[in-house]
Amino acid sequence: MNNYLDLSIKEIHELLVAKKITPVDLVEECYTRIGENSDLNSFITLNKTEAIEYARKLAEEEVEVDNLLWGIPIAIKDNISTKNIRTTCASKMLENYVPIYDATVIEKVKAAKMIIIGKTNMDEFAMGSASRTSYFGAPKNPVDKTKITGGSSGGSASCVAGNLVPIALGSDTGGSIRQPASYTGIVGMKPTYGRVSRYGLIAYGSSLDQIGPMTRNVYENALLLNTLVGKDKKDLTSVEREKEDFTRLIGKNIDGMKIAIPEFFVSSIVSPIIIEKLNHVVEILKENGATVEYVDMKYLDQVVTIYQIITMGEASSNLARFDGVKFGYRAENSESVEDMYANTRYEGFGTEVKRRIMVGSYLLSGENAKIYYDKALMIRNALKQEFNKFFEKYDFVFGPTTTTVAYGLDENLDDPRKSFMDDTLVMPVNMAGLPGINIPMGKDSDNMPIGLHIIGAHFEEARMYQIASFLENKLK
């Protein structure tokens, strides 16, 4: 058995160009590893026949020498619409739903000649922080299979961390890329809101959702982001930007960079071991010419509240289309339309989803819309202004990605609030539409990964990759 998948994408590319291997070798190795690690439960649906067939077709073609992602296997989170590949959102509601169209990012992935290996496990409709709300059972953390992967992009994190597939797409509404990346020790970027088209991403919180890359290292993350971005006329929230190479600043030093660390991010809610690792990062930064200041930033401690209101409100509306009429599950033997609705949604949705839709419907009903939703949007605006203020003075805001390391798969099952609290440090980024990236910054005594969270100003991804890559090297 060859271990091509342990190589970097650059090294794999060189082998492909030299015709020492073909994409078939890569794809077959992926499926072998997935088979050997089926207990990780990283995937909901595999695309095996089509992937191998496509790899064979690519093997007949010339390798695109300038396209490092040519023939590279990729895993896709199961809330991204893939034509002819079942897309379930980890829900019984969509257990048999096979999309008839590709999400814009999937068109881009295909245009770059990447090979789709399968659809990864996740929290049902991306609602959760441990991927345990999946109708198909929770994925496991490759570092310790008794631990959660985090969520909602748990399957993508699991398969990349387990090196089953080199790269994956996740989506992030309140930390769903960065938090599982932190728990499993990989690199996960949530780009600026509007960077990547959401067309085909099954919505949870429309004003917060963003697709992003999950990879083994910073360089490959930047590489994948290169192919994902761009204005899409099908998504009016996507933004027109000049084309840029996100890898271009990688390797440059960080002399003179100014970093702020909000006090809330190092408060008592964070485990001491994680603070310790962050302190080590601060030392490295200072040694290399960057400045670090601890600052007081408003609203950060209230983000969970506004996140709950905005996401549950938007979700209650976004998930109204799952009513048994047009696609997905329909409860049988309903005599009236009202029966069909109530039964379909009762039987098709899991507990977490139902709870959030119910609360969301309540929050928007009658006068509540003003009391809760409008006020949440005001605070959201104030929080964004607060970030803007800091980005006038600082290049980045740093903090830990999570308050603890990954916990046991059977822990904290009962508290409906826990899934929100797990993301308390990463939610502010989605609120303000900012880019945020997780990179590993060490391990605890049980070898569980600890993640560093870097927040940049809008559209500052390239500079974030610069500092992330610098630290990645120093922390090796």
Binding site: Y97, V98, I100, G194, S207, L208, K233, L236, V239, E240, Q302, V304, T305, I306, Q308, I309, M312, S316, A320, V325, K326, F327, G328, Y329, R330, E335, S336, V337, E338, D339, M340, A342, N343, R345, Y346, F349, K354, R355, I357, M358, V359, G360, S361, Y362, S365, I371, Y372, K375, L377, M378, R380, N381, A382, K384, D415, P416, R417, F420, N430, M431
Partner: protein, 97 residues
Amino acid sequence: MDKLTKEEVLHVAHLARIKVTDDEIEKYQVDLKKLLDDVDKIKDIEVESSELLVTPVEHESILRNDQDTRSVDFNEIKKNVPATTGNFVEVPVMVNE
């Protein structure tokens, strides 16, 4: 313990068009109350902004040309429709017409 009344649970369940069975209702009374207590904290937050931030990155919509059109064959769409009759989507009879 602090919890919602059964009627309150049934009201929000109806808003969301989700059936709640008798054996589940008690758990909802407690769980929903916890979440509602959480979101109630918003009432105590003081905020200086009165502007609503709907979408986080400031930019304008770009409009679509009316003349560009595209259709998808119903036979494609039909593959995922739970029940059809001819070219129609079928549902139990609608009331309130």
